[in-house]
Symmetry: C2
Subunit: 221 residues, 2 copies
């Protein structure tokens, strides 16, 4: 769809800044550079329509062409309080496939799994601690939204299929440790991942504690 | 371990209330009833050590023996502000396998996957929107904690292995839709799950919105 829209553009004045705001950056930038001879930039706002202002919000920017001509636009976003994070388009797409595609997809698969197992959602909610409630919320909120939005993000890049297959096989590989009762292998893997997270693990634990206290305050009794 | 501890108990006075606080209920209740002739109850507090009081916190209770003799204890927890949720032990264990075991395990598998894919954690954090940051936090926080705690929960019940295998196969089944570019099948599945979530989907969306605003306020700039 993005490509189609881009190809409908023609005769843009040379001083016009052409920018897209989609979740993928590499191919739209490529297409935009084909239809327009002036400045081109890829922008990915890391926030949704509920946000009322740019303060503390992240916008990822990917250079397309003539950055000196769109620099004022970037600076204007910063004046409005946004944090601009410049990266290469392919680096952006790779990160998004891990964070966005992979997480959306496994969350959807988990919802499908809950339904298929015949779980009792009312029971699950009633029995949940703040942290499981938060996890259930993250799953349920997705299914209140537009499926085509998620389908578009997930189906956009077929490279993600093999990446996600690797996840499923790793999942089954770790499950093998459980079925063989090999706790040592499981703990060794866990410690490797902890080392990989480094300081972030501890930071995230601290941050999540304040989050969970907030979550509990927001909970209806 | 729980069973071992229980079997060390002997000669408890008949009026003593025997209760466990572990994450599984069916087998500890069975063992407790063997070693003790008096009142027995299974309790599962749905909160961690960071919580400073019982107000608004959930405690699941599973009847063991002579509930009339431990009723005063349950009522005392309620006086302190806790919400008591009574269920059958096997119902509790089934719900926990979906909420706790399944979510812990797939979160751990996702951390292992991030590491194995050579993801750049600094980049991921910098590029994340509040919602992906929240998801990363939920993954990272786990790896700051004790692996044996998680291993004990996950390895406790071997029935969970087949349940989680079914998840992995469902994941691969949905991935097949993506590789075949079958958006219709994907959207149809999505809508079925939405219907299954019913009103919870919309409620969770609303609740998560206020959560995400809070999360953004807590974010260090």
């Amino acid at each position: 769809l993005t490509t189609m829209v881009i190809h409908h553009l023609n005769n843009l004045p040379k001083t016009c800044i052409l920018a897209d705001l989609t979740s993928i950056k590499e191919s739209p930038l490529f297409e935009m550079k084909k239809v327009h001879a002036g400045p081109v930039v890829g922008l990915h706002p890391m926030f949704g329509p509920d946000v009322t202002g740019l303060i503390k919000q992240t916008i990822i920017s990917c250079e397309g062409r003539n950055p000196e001509q769109y620099q004022w636009l970037i600076e204007q976003f910063e004046v409005w309080g946004a944090k601009i994070y410049p990266v290469q388009a392919h680096e952006h797409d790779q990160a998004m496939s891990m964070v966005q595609v992979m997480r959306h997809f496994s969350t959807i698969a988990y919802g499908y799994h809950l339904m298929s197992e015949g779980a009792d959602i009312e029971n699950l909610v009633a029995m949940s601690s703040p942290i499981y409630r938060l996890e259930l919320i993250m799953v349920g909120r997705l299914f209140a939204q537009d499926p085509t939005l998620y389908a578009d993000i997930i189906f956009a890049n077929k490279d993600n299929v093999s990446m996600m297959k690797r996840f499923a096989y790793r999942f089954l590989e770790l499950l093998e440790d459980v079925s063989l009762d090999d706790k040592d292998a499981f703990v060794a893997m866990f410690n490797n991942v902890s080392d990989w997270f480094g300081d972030y693990a501890g930071d995230f634990l601290e941050e999540s504690k304040s989050m969970l206290l907030k979550a509990n305050e927001l909970k209806k009794d």
